[in-house]
């Protein structure tokens, strides 16, 4: 009798069906910042490079420098370096290295400005992203970046990634 009761109790704990609580739609919406390359999760908004230039000057240049060239060893460059990946001194930036433009929206939205993240209005996230893509010659100055047009942006290094090829190095000479 006791043994049966103990066994039942044990099942309840291992299945743990009732541990935790259901998440509400509201809290999911408030916390979900993931943007996928498919476009799923892209927040609605819009902005172009002209507006982005102002956002950049006000919110980003203090660290990433006036021309998005960064400050070596301290703050990364955000533009330039397109075509440098085969050279001895590859310059990996949003424009030269990042395979997906959606990553830029995702990252700026969640993490920048570094010392004050998640304070940019979503239109400014699109605008400053447009500005950075324009600085690297990826889009034109007048393109309005929004949750639709960004999916048409082809990053220069889009085909630059290959899957992990391990083990790729012969172990013994």
């Amino acid at each position: 009798m006791y043994r049966i009761a103990a066994a039942l109790l044990f099942c309840a704990v291992t299945q743990a069906q009732n541990v935790g609580r259901p998440a509400t739609e509201t809290e999911i919406k408030a916390k979900d910042l993931t943007v996928l390359p498919s476009g799923a999760g892209l927040p609605g908004g819009k902005g172009d490079a002209a507006r982005g230039k102002t956002v950049y000057k006000e919110k980003c240049a203090v660290c990433h420098n006036d021309n998005a060239e960064g400050r070596p060893g301290q703050y990364p460059a955000l533009a330039g370096g397109v075509g440098s990946l085969k050279s001895d001194k590859p310059l990996k930036t949003v424009g030269s290295y990042w395979p997906y433009a959606t990553t830029l929206i995702d990252y700026v939205h969640r993490a920048m400005p570094y010392d004050n993240p998640r304070t940019l209005p979503i239109d400014d996230v699109y605008a400053v992203s447009a500005f950075l893509l324009f600085k690297s010659g990826v889009i034109t100055e007048t393109l309005e970046l929004n949750e639709k047009s960004i999916l048409q942006v082809k990053m220069p290094n889009r085909d630059g990634f290959v899957p992990d090829a391990r083990p790729d190095v012969k172990s013994k000479p």
Binding site: Q74, D106, R110
Partner: protein
């Protein structure tokens, strides 16, 4: 009194402790009148600390970018396989957040039948396990890879630590929320200021990943992810997301900044390898090693070091004292654990001549650690991450050990 005598001695350079300082320390002891004090010792204390004589430390160099940067584990000062929590390496992208355990929650949502929220108390109601695993930053050895051999074990390979982690298998949480058929990846997000995020393939998520709250028997340290982190056995450090607060089940990788712009290996042809998750087999001699000295002249010494593999157990470690021409099997300290550090040891008679010490490990898949030349030949000098090459220490005739 004896302690004072110790303290007033000029502390030798820290990373030379083992081989240099031991001699000096013994000299200090004999200078003491009494080695066993007659006065009553210190009282009890609530949280223990090491002897004030012990100075092993992470190498703290304040980064010029506040909040980013790394500290390394002093491998040359450690014994056994466990890294004390206070010496576990650090790598942060936006500093160490201070989180209230009582308010912290994990949101699990996306392609699941029932989105869930778990508190830290909820977590402890699930069946937990404790496992010993290493965590290695994939930037470990970046200097070696770029052609700049580092001067001591800490600088060369100290982005490596090994702890006993306690937590709930991630698969338990995923099953509690009931995965939808299209669920293929889990995006894990931390609660640091930058909300660091990484995508994990479902196969691994359902395999051996832990949602860990314990480290070496106590709560995880803040800089290791308090109150909860992912431990992704054998996979690069960055994906072991700290301060875990969100698990997003999706049908494709998110291609976050930290799996595209960073932690990808730029190859000589300009292409970059991505999703290199597994840390391949690697070993390093920690004593005698760069920055130390064979202080007793020619005679017996112990060569010891650590080996580890993200693919499973270490099967064999060989040691060479002639720059890789001949190899001798080292003894592996048991138990040898999968995806944990394995300690190896080999007695060595130093003849007083120049020598080049190397260790080379093989894991249970039969994979053997490559030379740096072989690695550079394939991956070039700019691939930054995932360097697992053999490390060479040069013993000079005067007994000093260097990296060149």
């Amino acid at each position: 009194m004896c302690y004072d005598a110790f303290n007033s001695m000029k502390a030798p350079k820290q990373n030379r402790r083992r081989f240099l300082a031991l001699g000096a320390g013994l000299a200090g002891l004999t200078a003491c009148k009494k080695t066993v004090p007659s006065e009553i010792g210190a009282g009890v204390r609530a949280y223990g600390e090491r002897s004030p004589l012990e100075k092993a430390a992470r190498d703290v160099k304040e980064s010029i970018t506040p909040g980013t940067g790394a500290t390394r584990t002093p491998l040359q000062d450690l014994d056994g396989i466990i890294t004390p929590s206070s010496l576990h390496f650090e790598r942060h992208h936006a500093g160490v957040p201070s989180i209230d355990r009582a308010k912290h929650e994990i949101l699990l949502h996306g392609m699941v039948e029932q989105p869930m929220v778990f508190t830290m108390d909820d977590l402890r109601r699930f069946p937990s396990v404790s496992r010993i695993y290493f965590i290695e930053c994939s930037g470990n050895g970046g200097g070696e890879l770029a052609g700049n051999p580092q001067p001591d074990p800490q600088k060369a390979a100290g982005l490596l630590s090994c702890s006993e982690w306690t937590g709930v298998p991630l698969s338990t949480l995923l099953k509690a929320a009931r995965l939808k058929p299209e669920a293929k990846w889990v995006v894990a997000e931390g609660a640091d200021a930058c909300l660091m995020a990484r995508s994990i393939p479902m196969e691994k998520a359902l395999d051996d990943i832990l949602v860990a709250y314990g480290q070496n028997g106590e709560a995880i340290r803040p800089e290791q992810g308090y109150p909860v982190r992912l431990v992704v056995p054998g996979w690069e450090g960055n994906i072991n997301v700290k301060w875990l607060h969100r698990l997003h089940v999706v049908d494709q990788p998110a291609m976050t900044r930290d799996e595209t712009a960073h932690y990808t290996d730029l190859m000589p042809d300009g292409k970059a390898q991505m999703f290199t998750f597994v840390m391949e087999a690697k070993s390093i001699i920690t004593r005698p090693a760069g920055g130390q000295k064979l202080a007793y002249g020619p005679g017996p010494y112990e060569v010891t070091g650590v080996a580890w593999s993200g693919k499973g157990k270490i099967q064999r470690v060989e040691v060479s004292v002639d720059n890789g021409q001949t190899w001798t099997d080292a003894e592996l300290q048991t138990p040898v654990l999968s995806k944990a550090i394995t300690r190896f040891r080999l007695p060595w008679q130093w003849a007083g001549k120049a020598a080049a010490l190397q260790s080379r490990c093989t894991d249970e898949t039969g994979y053997t650690q490559p030379t740096i030349e072989a690695l550079n030949a394939v991956r070039g000098y700019r691939s930054t991450y995932h360097c697992n090459a053999i490390k060479t220490w040069h013993v000079k005739e005067d007994g000093s050990v260097t990296h060149v």
